[in-house]
């Protein structure tokens, strides 16, 4: 199957996602990422995760690539739990659900930790969804379609390009060091420190040399830096992406769903932790139904 390289991996060339205009995908990320900040009810935030997984599957992304996010997701959970329990202080006013190594685990704090964690996870999933399905070019098209100044889009393009370049340089330097017997596996911190110095200096030195070459190449093709002051230029890339009625409808649906969430949250007092099924279940489990 032919694949397209995205920022985080690959998505099949025939992914149905490419029928959607890149601006809509950026808009989706920006708007839907707001939802977990507005929603406290864990089951609704879990629904956003399910939606993200569905969209990943719909886009034909290889879900095994998501394995790399398991450690980050777990470490976030651990960090939140640590902050809300062991490092959370002594609170006689809270209900002690159980004790572990002498530390009291308060019901109120566990509920808060679950609330925060179930808000963090969908945000991570949405970011992963966007980065696994968007090519660098999609981001540029979205920005240019939204009339972001050319110099900004060009800086972003070059920055993304240089990330790839530095990763390549980084692995070349690393291989060269390994070939000379420099292996950090199981070595001391001082050894690793020396190794890192051997990476970072060549990376900077290469960047300095490249800065001249890139600048020459850009100047030689007639680009003049005019700051944010725009010089009218054609945008050939945009001609290859049509913003269709369907894209307009999607933008409207996403916008309306944000309005809907705002109304339910602040107008009707819904989507809160207090009214959530998860809270009822936690209460039953951690408090044994005690009020």
């Amino acid at each position: 199957m032919k694949m397209n390289k995205t920022i985080l991996g690959y998505v099949p060339e025939e992914s149905p996602l490419y029928r959607i205009h890149p601006f809509v995908r950026v808009f989706f990320l920006l708007v839907v990422s707001l939802f977990p900040m507005l929603i406290n009810a864990p089951e609704w935030n879990l629904a956003i995760i399910v939606l993200a997984i569905f969209l990943l599957k719909y886009s034909r992304v290889n879900l095994s690539t998501l394995k790399i996010y398991v450690p980050v997701s777990l470490s976030m959970g651990f960090l939140i739990l640590l902050s809300h329990t062991v490092l959370g202080g002594i609170h006689p006013e809270f209900y002690v659900s159980f004790k572990l190594f002498g530390f009291p685990f308060y019901y109120e704090r566990i509920v808060a930790a679950v609330d925060v964690y179930t808000r963090v996870l969908p945000m991570i999933f949405l970011t992963v969804l966007f980065l696994s399905t968007s090519r660098e070019r999609d981001m540029l098209v979205a920005m240019r379609w939204a009339h972001v100044p050319f110099v900004v889009t060009y800086l972003v393009a070059m920055a993304l390009r240089s990330v790839g370049m530095v990763i390549e340089d980084f692995s070349i330097v690393r291989q060269a060091e390994k070939a000379r017997g420099f292996d950090p596996q199981g070595k001391s911190i001082a050894y690793k420190l020396r190794q890192f110095v051997m990476y970072i200096i060549p990376l900077f030195a290469l960047a300095l040399r490249r800065s001249d070459e890139f600048a020459n190449a850009i100047v030689a093709r007639g680009y003049s830096f005019t700051g944010l002051r725009e010089v009218k230029r054609p945008d050939y890339i945009l001609t290859q992406y049509r913003f269709r009625v369907r894209d307009g409808l999607l933008v409207a649906i996403i916008s309306l769903s944000l309005v809907g969430v705002l109304i339910i949250r602040f107008g009707l007092g819904g989507l809160t932790l207090e009214g959530s099924l998860t809270l009822q279940w936690l209460e039953l489990w951690l408090k044994g139904g005690a009020a």
Partner: protein, 201 residues
């Protein structure tokens, strides 16, 4: 070239922001993102939380060598390096003030006190250490207090632990790698077209 000459715009010397600065900003973003996300020491826990973050040295030296362009790169590269580790876009945006100050303070201090980036004198060392420490203090206060606490990740009681951890990890990384970079490369950088004497040029 002495430390006065490094920062002094000579009579008749024309300096203006150009394409080379856009390019160096992009390249700094690339280095910072890679060092921040994949560095041997960087242990991304997600949400922009790292223990020992060598990329802070890229912010420090970027501001010193490339002025406002280094500050722009310092503010933007964590969005990419955090994104790679799954950090939501709004969290990355919330970190911008801390990242900005961590590059801005060394930038301002070196220009104001006319310190030599090659760290030749005791005074240069003091300017370097003081400026990055102040930047780190701001970053270490802002990030746990405003970002992590703001997004509800931390309880009030646990914030001091994170402030100290944040400060310690960044300070040690900033000093070790900042000094090595300044000592190894300043001599070359100050002779390049990309070097910035004032804010943007």
């Amino acid at each position: 070239m002495d430390e006065q000459q490094i920062w002094q715009v000579e009579e008749g010397e024309t300096r203006s922001a150009g394409i080379i600065h856009i390019v160096i900003t992009a390249l700094l973003i690339g280095i910072g993102a890679v060092v921040g996300a994949f560095g041997s020491f960087s242990l991304p826990l997600g949400f922009g939380v790292n223990f020992f973050w060598p990329a802070i040295a890229v912010q420090n030296v970027g501001g010193i060598w490339f002025g406002a362009w280094g500050v722009i790169a310092a503010s933007l590269f964590p969005i990419i390096s955090n994104g790679i580790t799954g950090t939501p876009v709004y969290v990355s945006l919330a970190y911008i003030p801390a990242n900005l100050v961590q590059a801005l303070l060394p930038m301002l201090a070196f220009r104001y006190f006319k310190a030599d980036p090659r760290l030749n004198s005791k005074r240069d060392w003091i300017v370097f250490l003081a400026s990055i420490t102040l930047g780190n203090i701001f970053g270490a206060l802002y990030s746990p207090l405003v970002v992590l606490k703001g997004f509800g990740l931390l309880t009030a009681e646990s914030v001091p632990v994170f402030i100290w951890g944040w400060f310690g990890g960044n300070e040690v990384a900033g000093i070790i790698f900042g000094v090595i970079l300044l000592k190894a490369l300043s001599n070359v950088v100050i002779t390049t077209n990309a070097f910035v004497k004032r804010w943007f040029a």
